[in-house]
Symmetry: D2
Subunit: 372 residues, 4 copies
């Protein structure tokens, strides 16, 4: 019997995404039949104590505080980048040069120029690469994709509208964290959560041709964590219209100022035959309207996406037993591992990340609107 | 005891809106304490047999087939215009000159020029005038307005987004009715249903400063009712972004191509303190989030707007007994009658209709979008 | 041309039900093609001033204060009984003897003995008779019945569960109105709202074979309207289990002590193939699950019951334009008029009322429960 | 520094519950600050190959096929029983005698006699003991308990109604698995899923005083897995009414014949001030109605139970990021470990299991219902 392959993973980043990815690497082999064993080899953070604690709690073999040591370690197969946006390019390019497979948190970069350099690096190095747009692998979203591809809502798509709404900075006294600083984050709600729905638009409908946008910074000054007043130089909210290449109309909103919406990513797609609707806060349900149903009994179906025939979710629990947010990361790393071993292309890769970045940039330089 | 005043109404139009307005004039005195009696004096249509039948079924004293006879009749106090859009201006201006109070279906006109002439006419004649944006008087919408005005969602509004979605022409074989012809309707989904949500935007948040828009005619050729092929020269759907004068972000969509959405007018408003959400297909409910609620028990409240303290609805049935679509027209005519007798301004009047028309026109001439 | 028949109606009762029935008689000819004209001839109440006012506001030709004058009037064809329960039997029996068609509010009587005398009277007199269980004619409920009859949820029914929940007396300071007095009302929540869901159980599933019940009077003493302390001698809530003759399991609850439930009548029916669910507070929607749908896209359909093919509702407005509570009474009187003219049996008639009363009585004399 | 304690766990059972509990033991230390390390020492199943595979996939150090070896192993601290119901008593009593802490799947036993022997055994041995009614530790349910205890719905409870509905055996061709055999399972839907809602009734409201019940076996004959025809001798569904000692009315249903309901555990509780409603298929949400809210803005609040202040859930992800079914088991073992180390009583323990068993038995011997 040939020895089963093992892949060693190093994770860079110990905060929210670090925790979510750690869980994914730990859980994936328990619920999915992976073609390789996973070794959770190292986690890398900025301070020694915190990183050591994270390693122990999150289940990594060792703690590292210099990411370059990760890159230099020949035993590491996969580098998983969960740092703030301003370090994605540098780390990813170094990892590519070192021949590592790379999973990178979204948005891929702060701008098109950075993203293009990253794509060049992974192409030149021919390394496996993936952007962690985890929502593609929420079972409900994956089912929506299957249904669209098989014509369930018809052969033409008319509308894609999505909204990603949160309210965690609606309080004016919330401090100026890195996600509110242009030089670290690139943009505000746009790159952080807008990137997710742009990725879903591209995944579910296709490439975007034209856009127009309006954005606003509602709270223009905040205190830093050290209580210093500072200007907020990213968008608090952005609203976008546009067209896909296939003539479908695009409507997107990303905001952190929607009181009561905690992590609400909703989309609705209307096709020539039917419609689909999704809400991340009820992420185990897909609404589906089929105009081919009998007239008297037509209506949006509330599909509880927990059946064994549904993507991913049959690996978890019996029908009706719902899964949560973090499972989408488990599915992401499971698919990434399979793609690495099979040497197959995986989506969304860095090229997808670049295309999404082009949309982000186009939104940021959108022309002024017409005055009344 | 002074003799109680009676107001004689003449309705022009016998189709969908004619039926809805007839019901309103008939029901208003039964449920609201009006300061005048209502005489349903005449209904006017184009063919004699149909109009006579309508008069009998809908409860009008006589049937008339020349609207000019209505205008010329000195006994008529109120002219209610429910005709296609291309005759609004001519009838309304004639009615104003004859000193009639005027209730006119929306959109007020086909374009700003027409609307301006209508405003001039009613101002010159000093006649009571109202545009029938009936949704302002859905109790839930009226409650939303009260709550916004009293600061329930805070002193700043950040977002207003609304969508009016239908699917009655999503079938490519649906014929080319007047609502799909530019010369009669002025525009497509925009003027027909988009006008309603623009009116609500202005009602609930304030005047709009800038807009950008994208529209599409998905089915470009249809058969007329006589089975002749013809070009569709109005929009099937439009998507709009913009800003209000108070810096709030506007996002609007109007479409007749959303499979499964029958008459779904939804809006959500996010303020500095809370949020409101509405869906016309569940029109007796208002969702309200108050960030001032205790942390542990915060959540969108599902207010069933049927309490005696809620606007209008206490005049109908006990709490929990819901009302329907047509009741909004009853409230509209009840308020119009009160305003006429009290000689008070009523909203939305023709000036409001003109302002809404300016937004419609700005959307139609919106600049091209930025290509990627 | 033969002269069209006219039917003269007299309504006894001027309160909540009097208003709802008045509206029904007024609206039915406007929306339904009736085989006779309706003359709203007389309304009868207890005090002269209030009844005169009611006649004017509600649209009746004259006001009467002695119901026996109604019975004695040979010009009256239909007597509509909207009085408290303790006078149903006396009035209905007198009306039957006088040859009137009778529409009687529910519950038919205070007990089986009374109900039986009423049935005997209408049978002997061979007069048209109907109990106003208006919820049978909510379009959604009528659609549910059609679907069950055509096998949409399968040939066996396993479960019928219904709950009618209100909260209008949950406040301990609410006074002792007639609905809280046994000698007038017969029972409390049971007869008032429980009767409706028993009628629906019989309508949708069939006759009930056995029952067990538990009830409670949570607030045992209240003040009368004259501020005198008095004992509450009816149930505040009742919970019932049982079996239908076809072996389906029955589960019913009626309560006026469910905070937040204003007029919530819900039911769910599970059959061998599918399920149906209904909520009166969202009365234009029927949830339908069909296990024969494809595995991947199965889910409860949210049918908006406003299509032209749906029962009754096509007579009102286009799809998606919802109707309200009072429309169920319009449908009831429209069907009653058609049955009278066609000399056909109508359901639910007094015999149905008696059968429902037998269930009410069986619930009231249910055996004590097993102690643990 | 004192050496940190480690607790060695052995799990008996490798199927659905075995997988859920394995996940719980694996995840608990990653998300909760436990006072001891967890060693996943052994998993025990019936066949060697399957158990070895389970050990590897689920993360247990070794595979065992004789549960008595587990009991005999002095290094095992905790025995976690996930076997079919007929072996609970034997294993638990042996484990107690061996001084192990015991976590036992529900229902505790097949009947009161068995349950009593188990209670006696753990009391005599003074070992930590817990029944795995995991739904008590769904954050939403735990929040409901906190709110009830702090008077949020008032000082009196009027109604508790719950329903646990599934449809996995609604298909007549589904085979006769152990859960459909009385000698293994004790009862059908009653003990399997009814036990959960009886536990929740006791947890949230208090002890039950009297009950009445009706049950049915809708499909009386099924094929065994070996295709042999056999009689089904457990209930397919049961419907229960009763009273709590505090006079609140109880209404429960458990069924496996509700088409479209996959794992729907719903409850609603009505108190003198407010109401709570829950649905396991939307388990991150709690509906809360507070009659003390202002009249105009009262309505059921839709609380998304993902805030840091909510029980358990703050240990997972930021607000709005929902968790799933299996997390309730993680919370259960985390609390059990804390109780073991702190030598504190934990609920629900075997005494609770016995009390629940008394209710199950009372339901099974309920008196016949009254015939009509």
């Amino acid at each position: 019997m040939p020895k089963r392959r093992a892949l060693s993973v190093a994770l860079i980043g110990t905060k929210f995404m670090g925790r979510a990815h750690s869980n994914a690497w730990r859980q994936a082999p328990r619920f999915f039949d992976l073609p390789a064993d996973i070794r959770m080899a190292a986690i890398c953070g900025r301070d020694r104590a915190g990183t050591s604690r994270a390693a122990k709690i999150l289940g990594w073999e060792k703690a590292v505080i210099d990411w370059k040591a990760i890159i230099a370690d020949p035993l590491i197969d996969i580098v998983d980048i969960c740092t703030p946006n301003d370090s994605h390019a540098e780390i990813a390019i170094a990892a590519a040069r070192a021949g590592k497979a790379i999973l990178c948190e979204k948005p891929l970069a702060r701008n098109v120029a950075e993203a293009r350099r990253m794509v060049d690096a992974v192409k030149r190095a021919r390394v496996a690469n993936m952007v962690c747009h985890n929502y593609r692998r929420v079972p409900t979203v994956a089912l929506a994709k299957q249904m669209i591809d098989s014509g369930k809502i018809g052969h033409r798509i008319y509308h894609f509208r999505a909204r990603y709404a949160q309210d965690w900075i609606a309080d004016e006294n919330f401090p100026l964290v890195w996600r509110l600083q242009s030089k670290v984050a690139g943009s505000g709600a746009l790159g952080d959560i807008g990137a997710h729905i742009i990725d879903l638009a591209r995944f579910l409908v296709g490439e975007i041709a034209v856009v127009s946008a309006v954005s606003e910074t509602f709270v223009k000054r905040r205190l830093t964590k050290n209580r210093q007043p500072a200007r907020v130089d990213v968008d608090d909210a952005v609203s976008v219209i546009g067209k896909f290449r296939n003539a479908a109309i695009l409507n997107l909103e990303a905001t952190r100022f929607a009181r009561g919406r905690k992590n609400q990513l909703t989309f609705e797609i209307n096709g020539s035959r039917g419609s689909l609707a999704f809400d991340l806060e009820e992420m185990n349900r897909l609404r589906f309207y089929d105009s081919a149903d009998p007239n008297q009994t037509r209506g949006f179906r509330d599909i509880i996406v927990t059946e064994s025939k549904h993507p991913y979710v049959g690996n978890w629990w019996p029908p009706g037993h719902i899964i949560g947010y973090e499972h989408s990361f488990v599915h992401t790393v499971a698919d990434f591992v399979k793609a690495i071993v099979a040497r197959k292309k995986i989506e969304p890769d860095f090229t997808d990340g670049l295309k999404t970045q082009r949309v982000l940039d186009a939104i940021q330089r959108a022309r002024p609107l017409s005055s009344l």
